[in-house]
Amino acid sequence: MADAAQAAGIGLWAVPLAMIGGAIRVSTPFIFVSLGETITERSGRINLGLEGTLVFGAMTAYAIAVETGSAWIGLAGAFVSGCCFGLLHGWICKFPRVNDIAIGIALMLFGTGLAFFFGKAYIQPSAPHLPAIPFGFWSSTPQVRAALDVNALFLTGAALAVFLWWAFQNTKIGLVVRVVGDSSDAARAMGYSPDLVRLLATAVGGGMAAIGGGYLSLYYPGSWNESISSGQGLMAVALVIFSRWNPLGCLAAALLFGGAGALGPALQSVGVTHGYYLFYAAPYVLTLAIMILTSSPGRTLAGAPGELSITR
């Protein structure tokens, strides 16, 4: 093992470096899905269907990128498809006595199924990738360069998190979303329609989740196949609760999850050959541990929007 690390040139430093690079790479879809879900949940609704939206977005982005030759057009297509899924969810949930969680699970299965159906033809052809910005140009060490190849979507996502955090307190739209999410009665008394606000919030949330999917198929891992998501859309929903519906918290939590997810590959890259695969489970163990630590039967979740079906 020591030999392998030596051979890599920078010794055990390769592990944290690979984890930083990995955190940035792996966290990007988490950022988009969880920010989208934050908008939806802040408006008082849970969309568990984001897993399906993510997979469908990955397929749409890839297919359109193959057909048009442009990764960006593919991403735009993914956004539109995600919005459609969100609109569908929001529209169904508008009816009385409809449970948003059940609809979410149905749409999750529907989204993945539909993506597999349409995506069969696109497993073989290769699509153009999204560009990365080489922040590691100053270094001659290949590991540093690899770690600091930051994709444009990560930067967009980070900026979006800051923007959303600002917008929830300083814009009318942000405040209206919070009002609707915390008290439907108050919103109605102010003349806003909770159903409409939730419909739009779910649509935007879906669109963002689909962008997260587009990132998966167009950047990292960068191909379309049926096991592309492996539950990332669902974990992002858990992440929203962990970060207490705070966009900046989402960014931090996504990075933490990304880092945990990069642990396995990083250990493998320095030559750890035994047991590294256990670390592939790290994000899932982390999700579970966090959910257990942050919940308690005796108290309500701090900061939870009052209209959410899980807190009501």
């Binding site: 405040l175 108050a186 008394a189």
Partner: protein, 507 residues
């Protein structure tokens, strides 16, 4: 902000509202002169809120007109009402709990800007607050404010929005006596200064006589009378409100001799709902044949305390004894020690809403037979017979035994739960806000039954937000504030203002 002229006169003429065959309002006319503090009285279902909602555009009246400052003005939506300066403060606050006061006020403005310049808004708010008789912290989330502060913030919000006619829907139902006096005093000052006209829905005679200058009474959708406060008295108002309905009398309080403690709580500790504060009841005893009233502003730990007694919440340490035996709120213990619990929000805490009335009434007894042995198969016939008997005894109004209990009105759900819990031998009765939202007759009936249980030798722990109720029923009163018992007094010599100060945390 609309222009802030003076108070306006609002008049409703011949208001009639029909829902199908049901007439909610029948030719009601009411005139509230500019700068008046007008009280609107009536029982639940008398049509008070229908009248008000017609005036504010929530309902469209079947017939009748609204005139503002003597000019006929059609009001078709709440938006129309707002444009004419008509606003309402609801009984259940319409402030958004997680937003700060400033955010709440700014977002309810119709012309709130897309991007909010907080510095500018704050300056405007500060300037506005300087013209107001009371001050509220605007930078903390509304959920951290006391009920009285919320009520005042609601009123501030309406004034900031330029309303010149305000409907207050039972504004003091959640306030301590001092808070109520203070808030209504400020409202009265605003009306006297000519800035505001107020229509207050109430059924507390005290505050009507202390603050209002005119009153109107409704019963069953009709105007029964009214006029300047000087020309009215309590008995006249009561007669107009309830007509010739029979009201249950409270039994005389039977004096309890030296009785043993039934409930004994020592050193109880539990985290509250938010997990941040602690419920800490060091010592609390209730004797047989005694009603111990627990006063307190809601949200001070009463709910958690009751949940512990009902077995809905675990406690960290401390001991609860009933008749000297340790009590952990299991079904077996409740049965053996004869503990009965009537939680607040009975539909949520004490019923299975979609199960039938008969099934709900049998929850205490369905699994044992007459001799107390466990049953394997249910006896449907006995369940129905028992339910039929209870329904007749307690006057529960239900379409049939098989109606889901959720379909009953609030008062009847409460009666059904009371019927179930007060049947059989009761040694310890825990009751929370039993009369919340019920009408005169139902309240009198339920209070009479609690007093009967006391006189029959039960120890009663009565938790209520209504201080008048506690003063009427209790033998002793304790005050719960911030999760702890902070004050104790004998009910016969209790001073409501002293209790109120402890409820508010000022002592």
């Amino acid at each position: 902000m609309a222009d802030r002229g003076g108070a306006i006169e609002v008049e409703a003429v011949g208001m009639t509202l029909r829902f199908g065959a049901f007439t909610a309002l029948d030719d009601v006319s009411i005139r509230i002169r500019a700068g008046a503090f007008h009280a609107l009285l009536g029982e639940n279902g008398a049509g008070k809120s229908c009248l008000v909602k017609c005036m504010l555009g929530f309902y469209r009246a079947t017939d009748g007109q609204i005139a503002i400052n003597g000019r006929e003005t059609p009001i078709d939506s709440p938006r129309d009402a707002a444009a004419h300066g008509l606003g309402m403060v609801y009984q259940h606050f319409t402030l958004v709990p997680s937003l700060t006061g400033a955010e709440n006020i700014v977002i309810s403005r119709a012309d709130a800007p897309q991007i909010i310049d907080w510095r500018k808004e704050r300056t405007a708010l500060t300037r506005f607050m300087e013209t107001m008789p009371f001050h509220i912290p605007l930078d903390v989330p509304v959920s951290t404010l006391a009920a009285g502060q919320k009520q005042k913030l609601e009123i501030l919000k309406q004034l900031y929005l330029g309303r010149r006619f305000l409907v207050l829907d039972e504004p003091t139902s959640v306030l301590t006596p001092d808070e109520a006096d203070e808030t209504l005093g400020h409202v009265r000052a605003l009306t006297e200064s000519g800035a505001l006209t107020v229509l207050m829905i109430s059924h507390k005679f005290n505050e009507v006589f202390a603050f209002a200058d005119e009153a109107t009474v409704l019963r069953r959708g009709k105007r029964m009378g009214g006029g300047p406060i000087g020309s009215l008295n309590r008995d006249m108002l009561a007669a107009m409100m309830i007509g010739d309905q029979k009201i249950a009398n409270l039994d005389a309080r039977r004096l309890a001799s030296e009785a043993p403690d039934v409930l004994d709580i020592t050193g109880l500790r539990a985290p509250d709902e938010s997990g941040l504060k602690t419920i800490a009841v060091d010592a609390l005893r209730v004797k047989a044949g005694e009603i111990l009233g627990v006063a307190g502003v809601s949200g001070n730990g009463q709910k958690e305390f009751l949940e512990i007694l009902a077995g809905q919440r675990r406690h960290d340490c401390g001991a609860i004894h009933v008749h000297g035996a340790p009590y952990c709120a299991t079904r077996a213990e409740m049965r053996k020690l004869k503990v009965r619990i009537i939680q607040e929000e009975p539909l949520r805490n004490a019923c299975a809403p979609r199960m039938s009335v008969a099934e709900n009434l049998a929850f205490r007894t369905f699994d044992i037979d007459e001799s107390g042995r466990t049953r394997v198969l249910l006896d449907g016939k006995a369940i129905r017979c028992g339910a039929q008997r209870l329904i007749e005894q307690f006057g529960v109004k239900t379409a049939s035994l098989d109606t889901p209990i959720a379909a009953l009105s609030g008062g009847n759900v409460q009666r059904a739960v009371l019927a179930r819990e007060l049947t059989g031998e009761v040694d310890l009765l825990v009751v929370a806000n039993p009369c919340f939202g019920l009408d005169f007759a139902a309240i009198a009936d339920i209070r009479a039954r609690i007093m009967k249980a006391r006189n029959a030798g039960a120890a009663v722990l009565l938790v209520s937000e209504d201080l008048d109720e506690l003063l009427e029923l209790s033998d002793r009163i304790v005050v719960m504030s911030e999760g702890a018992i902070v004050y104790e007094t004998n009910a016969s010599c209790a001073d409501p203002h002293e209790i109120g100060r402890h409820m508010a945390g000022h002592y």
